[in-house]
C-alpha cells in the first residue's frame, strides 16, 4: 500500500468528494428499486422483471433440446405416497361421457382414454419438481405427447412447421396451461393415465393428465379436458399470477 504526504486541505477535499460521490451513487440502487416497483405490471409482475424472465427463457431454452433428458430412476426409488398439491379444475364431478376435445387448426375431434391406450405406452420415473421447492421421484405411465400428435396428425401448422404452443385446460376451464412446442414434443412429455402402474387417482388428475418433466409441476395439468395448438402464447394459470411462463428446468 502506498503512503503519501498530503495537505490537510487536500485530504478534506478528497474526503468530501468521496462521500458526495458515495451518496449520489447510493441513489442508483434506490432509483432502480423504485423504477421496478412503479413499472406497469405484466401479469402481476413488474415489466422489467417479466422482461428479464423472458430473456432468461430465450437464453436457456437455446440449451434445451430433445437430447437433454430428465434423469431417470428405478421403480424401487419411486414414491408410493405421491404428493398432492393442487385441486384447481378438479372440483366438479366428471361427466359420464368424458372425452378429450382436440383442436388443431381446422381439425376438431374428440378422443377417449381407450383410444389413447391403443397407442404405445411409455413409462417414466423421474424427479417431479414443484416450483415451491420440493421434489419427489414419481412413476407415471401413458402415451408420449409426440406419439399422440403424430398418430392423429395434429400440431402441424403446414407441411413444414409445427404450431409454436400447445394449450391445455381442464373440462371446467378453471385451470389451464400453455407449453412451448419443443417442450411438448420432448420425448419424456406424456399424457399420463397411470401412476405407480395403476389408473390415476382423482386428486392426481384422473382420467388423464399431462406429465412434463422438463417443466415445474404447475405445467403438468391434471384432468385434461381440451388440447389445442396455436402460435399465440396460450393463457397460463400461474403465469398470469406472476410466475414465469416458461417454467423450464
Amino acid at each position: 500500500m502506498k503512503e503519501e504526504l498530503t495537505s490537510k486541505q487536500e485530504i478534506r477535499r478528497k474526503t468530501i468528494k468521496a462521500f458526495v460521490g458515495f451518496g449520489v451513487a447510493s441513489l442508483v440502487p434506490v432509483g432502480i428499486w423504485k423504477w421496478i416497483k412503479s413499472s406497469d405490471r405484466l401479469d402481476y409482475l413488474s415489466a422489467p422483471l417479466r422482461k428479464t424472465l423472458e430473456f432468461n427463457e430465450k437464453l436457456t431454452s437455446k440449451l434445451l433440446s430433445n437430447s437433454h433428458l430428465a434423469p431417470i430412476f428405478s421403480k424401487s426409488q419411486a414414491e408410493r405416497k405421491v404428493r398432492f398439491n393442487g385441486a384447481v379444475g378438479l372440483q366438479f364431478p366428471l361427466s359420464e361421457d368424458y372425452k378429450i376435445q382436440v383442436q388443431s387448426g381446422e381439425n376438431k375431434f374428440e378422443v377417449t382414454i381407450n383410444d389413447l391406450k391403443t397407442l404405445p405406452k411409455q413409462e417414466i420415473i423421474f424427479e417431479f419438481k414443484c416450483i415451491e421447492g420440493w421434489s419427489q421421484i414419481q412413476h407415471w405411465g401413458g402415451v408420449r405427447f409426440v406419439d399422440f400428435m403424430n398418430h392423429y396428425k395434429i400440431g402441424q401448422k403446414d407441411t413444414e412447421n409445427l404450431f409454436e404452443y400447445v394449450a391445455m385446460e381442464t373440462p371446467d376451464g378453471l385451470y389451464y396451461v400453455g407449453v412451448d412446442m419443443p417442450s411438448a414434443v420432448h420425448p419424456q412429455t406424456i399424457l399420463a393415465y397411470e401412476m405407480n402402474g395403476k389408473p390415476l387417482l382423482k386428486k392426481h388428475g384422473s382420467p388423464l393428465r399431462l406429465i412434463i418433466p422438463v417443466k415445474y409441476g404447475y405445467k403438468s395439468l391434471k384432468r385434461v379436458g381440451k388440447i389445442s395448438f396455436s402460435d399465440e402464447r396460450p393463457k397460463d394459470y400461474w403465469a398470469s399470477l406472476g410466475y414465469d411462463y416458461f417454467a423450464g428446468l
Binding site: 503519501e4 504526504l5 490537510k8 468521496a18 451513487a25 424472465l53 436457456t60 434423469p71 420440493w134
Partner: protein, 216 residues
C-alpha cells in the same frame, strides 16, 4: 502535511459497494423463495435444535406468500451479482491485488493468533499486512462461496438442461441444501464483518469510501 495511506483502490471500492445491495437482494429474494418450502432444520435425533425459520421470522420481516416475486427478483439480480463477482476476481488478478488477499503459507497458522487476539484471549498482536491472516482466509473463502452459490444456484435453476452439474453436486435436493447453507454462510460472514468494522472504527470504515486512511 499529513501522511495518508492509500488502502483501497477505486475499483475495489466500487465492487464492494455494488455487491452490497446485490447480495442483499439475492438473500432477501432467496428467503421469499425458500419460504414456500422452508423445511430445513437442525435436529439431533428427535430433538429439534433450530428450524429454518420459525413463522415469526417470516412475519417479522414480511417474507410470507411472495414466491413469484422472489423468483423474479432472484433470477434478474443473479446476472448482476455474477458479473460483479467475475469482474472483481478479474480485477484482482490483473492488478496483482490478489497477492494481498489470497492466504499465504503462514496464514493458516497465524489465523489462530488473530482469532485469539480479537477475542481478547491473547495479547500477542498478529502480523498485519493490508489484511491479516484471518482476513485473507475469509475474504478468499467468501469469493469461493460466491462462486459456489452461482454453481449450486444453476444446478437448481436448470437441473435438466445442466443435469451434469446437478449430479456432481449430489442431485437436486442436495444442491438446494448446499445453496441454502452457503447463504447462511454469507449471513454469518456479514455478521462478523460488521462487528469487525465497528471494532476497527470510523477511520477504517471511511477508507472503504475515500480509499485512503490518515496515518497518525
Amino acid at each position: 502535511m499529513q501522511k495518508i495511506i492509500h488502502k483501497h483502490s477505486l475499483a475495489i471500492r466500487w465492487f464492494h459497494w455494488i455487491n452490497f445491495p446485490l447480495l442483499f437482494v439475492m438473500i432477501w429474494s432467496g428467503l421469499l423463495i425458500y419460504w414456500a418450502n422452508g423445511v430445513y432444520k437442525i435436529q439431533v435425533e428427535e430433538t429439534l435444535i433450530f428450524k429454518f425459520f420459525p413463522k415469526g421470522f417470516y412475519d417479522f420481516l414480511g417474507l410470507s406468500g411472495q414466491l413469484a416475486k422472489g423468483m423474479a427478483w432472484h433470477f434478474a439480480t443473479m446476472w448482476l451479482f455474477t458479473v460483479n463477482g467475475i469482474l472483481y476476481v478479474l480485477y484482482t488478478m490483473i492488478s496483482g491485488e490478489w497477492q494481498l488477499i489470497v492466504p499465504t503459507k503462514n496464514s493458516f497458522k497465524e489465523a489462530w493468533q488473530v482469532v485469539l487476539f480479537d477475542l481478547g484471549i491473547s495479547k500477542l498482536s498478529p502480523p498485519q499486512d493490508k489484511y491479516n491472516a484471518a482476513q485473507r482466509i475469509v475474504y478468499t473463502l467468501v469469493i469461493i462461496m460466491g462462486f459456489g452459490s452461482i454453481l449450486t444456484g444453476w444446478a437448481i435453476f436448470r437441473p435438466i438442461q445442466i443435469s451434469w452439474l446437478t449430479n456432481i453436486l449430489g442431485g437436486y435436493k442436495a444442491a438446494r441444501i448446499e445453496h441454502f447453507i452457503l447463504t447462511i454462510g454469507f449471513c454469518l460472514f456479514f455478521l462478523v464483518h460488521i462487528i469487525q468494522v465497528i471494532k476497527a472504527g470510523w477511520k477504517n470504515f471511511q477508507s472503504m469510501i475515500t480509499g485512503f486512511e490518515k496515518v497518525d
